[in-house]
């Protein structure tokens, strides 16, 4: 008797659970999609047109055009079509002439004088001047050719001047940074995202994990090919790391191997050879046991069916 009533009660409870379970499932699916769909909103493409809604909401929203672009002295059509007056930063220059042969081919970002940024961002600018990107720019000027990864970037290549957002969280900045650096350093971005650092930092939003600039420095952009420099970067989190710690390969992709140092090259070759071997081993072992179990199951089922009916 006693057990009977208990059974009925549990049955009733399970029945009441159905709608709850359903609602739970729906909620889970919705939550999942909300997570899955939360993408990174990078700044829109910079064009001739400035989106005033986004500009006003950006960190530079309070600046007037002239503060960066200088006063377009010849601001009447007749003038800006004509000759420039009194060239010089912020003193006044003429608007580029849309009818001139070169105007439509000019790379705006190569052409803009980013010293304007220095007015407010002094430290960042001075760091940038010491860094790899500035070195590359200087090299580019002397040789006249861009490097393999493309033109050496100036401020505007990484930062959207019109739509740059302020007060972003660490992981928001990091996510945008990963995309931005990845435009030129595609292979480094991929290997970073395949590494624990990238997975925890970018994918899971873990603030303690390192983003690009945490190792390579913001604006300084160190290449970290030198062991001591690299170790300094590691020491920021791994405080008791020995010098050999810098031998661990973070960007372990095999693309463009020749650009890497010899030690890394040979290390990477080993890593990938062993990786392929391990993969083959895993597949072989699993294939054998899956076949074994599958066939055994079929045979046993067959015999059971035979026995029963």
């Amino acid at each position: 008797m006693q057990t009977g009533t208990i059974k009925i009660k549990t049955k009733l409870q399970t029945r009441r659970m159905y709608p709850l379970l359903m609602a739970g499932c729906v909620l889970l699916v919705l939550l999942w999609f909300s997570y899955a769909r939360a993408g990174i909103d990078t700044a829109p493409l910079s064009t001739w047109f400035v989106d005033m809604n986004q500009y006003a909401a950006s960190a530079h929203g309070s600046l007037k055009c002239e503060e960066c672009h200088g006063l377009m002295i010849g601001s009447e059509i007749s003038n800006w079509m004509g000759k420039g007056i009194d060239k010089g930063i912020n003193k006044g220059k003429s608007h580029p002439d849309p009818d001139s042969a070169d105007f439509l081919k000019t790379q705006t970002k190569r052409n803009f004088d980013y010293q304007a940024c220095q007015k407010c961002h002094k430290t960042a600018y001075s760091r940038f001047l010491k860094g790899e990107h500035a070195t590359a720019a200087a090299k580019e000027k002397t040789t006249g050719n861009p490097s393999k990864t493309g033109y050496a970037p100036a401020c505007g290549d990484c930062h959207s001047a019109h739509y740059v957002k302020s007060h972003l969280s660490r992981s928001q900045t990091g996510r945008i940074m990963t995309q931005t650096c990845g435009v030129c350093h595609q292979e480094q971005k991929e290997s970073f995202l395949a590494n624990y650092h990238g997975k925890a930092a970018v994918n899971l939003g873990y603030d303690k994990a390192a983003f690009c600039t945490d190792c390579h420095g913001a604006h300084t952009m160190l290449s970290l090919k030198d062991k001591e420099t690299a170790l300094n970067a590691c020491l920021r989190c791994h405080s008791d790391a020995p010098l050999e710690f810098a031998n661990i390969i973070i960007h372990d992709s095999t693309k463009n191997l020749d650009l890497k140092s010899d030690a890394k090259k040979s290390g990477l070759k080993w890593v990938h050879a062993i990786r392929v071997l391990a993969l083959i081993l895993v597949v072989a072992v699993l294939a054998f046991f899956f076949m074994h179990t599958g066939l055994l199951m079929l045979r046993k089922l067959h015999e059971k069916l035979r026995r029963h009916k």
Partner: protein
Amino acid sequence: METNVKPQETFQRFHILHRILHIVIIFNFTFLAITGFLLHFSGFGLAKFLVSLMGGAGAAGWLHRFCAVFLYMGILAHIFWLFYYKFVLKQKFSGPDSILPGKKDIKDLYQNLRYVFNKGTPPLFDRFSYLQKHDYWAEMLGMQSMGLTGLMMWYPEFFAGIFPGFFINIAGYFHFYEAVLAVLYIGVVHMSDTHLVPDIFPMEKSIFTGKIEKARFMEDHPEEWKRQQMIKD
């Protein structure tokens, strides 16, 4: 409903320590697999969602290490028991009851393959079949290498001083591939070989209760049954 069926005669098969250890392994293995794969496949929306439910990547990482230590303590407990078994109880590791692989296992495998292709009868197993032995050794040895590679990634500062730097990278890949192997092996092969066998389905309980029914004993471990009957006589 009244049950007129008499409960079957049962025999002790697993020691209480092993039963507890098995539960420890189940619990920790599951959480290790979940948290580990959540990090590796963190690019998927579902993974992000589940990690956030766990309290973020830090908490998931902590859980992963906690379970690893817990699981390894279980394995250490088993190793201590082995010493106890050998030196205090003065028992032997070899013999038909042994979990050590032997010649009979290769013969059994061959015979089982013949049976699968309808060319003979199934082999007669002793206390442990070759698959059970394989399960045991895969777990015992696998956990050692998972533990080592895991430690290498847990304390890279220490291990980078001992090994060349790229060993840490290799450890990462090994850790992942072995995890895939373990999860697919346990999830598919071990599960179906124990629970899905038609006569046992839906569930094999002997590792939890420690007892095996007479019929199953005679069917699954006929050699051991025969030996026990001979000792009795």
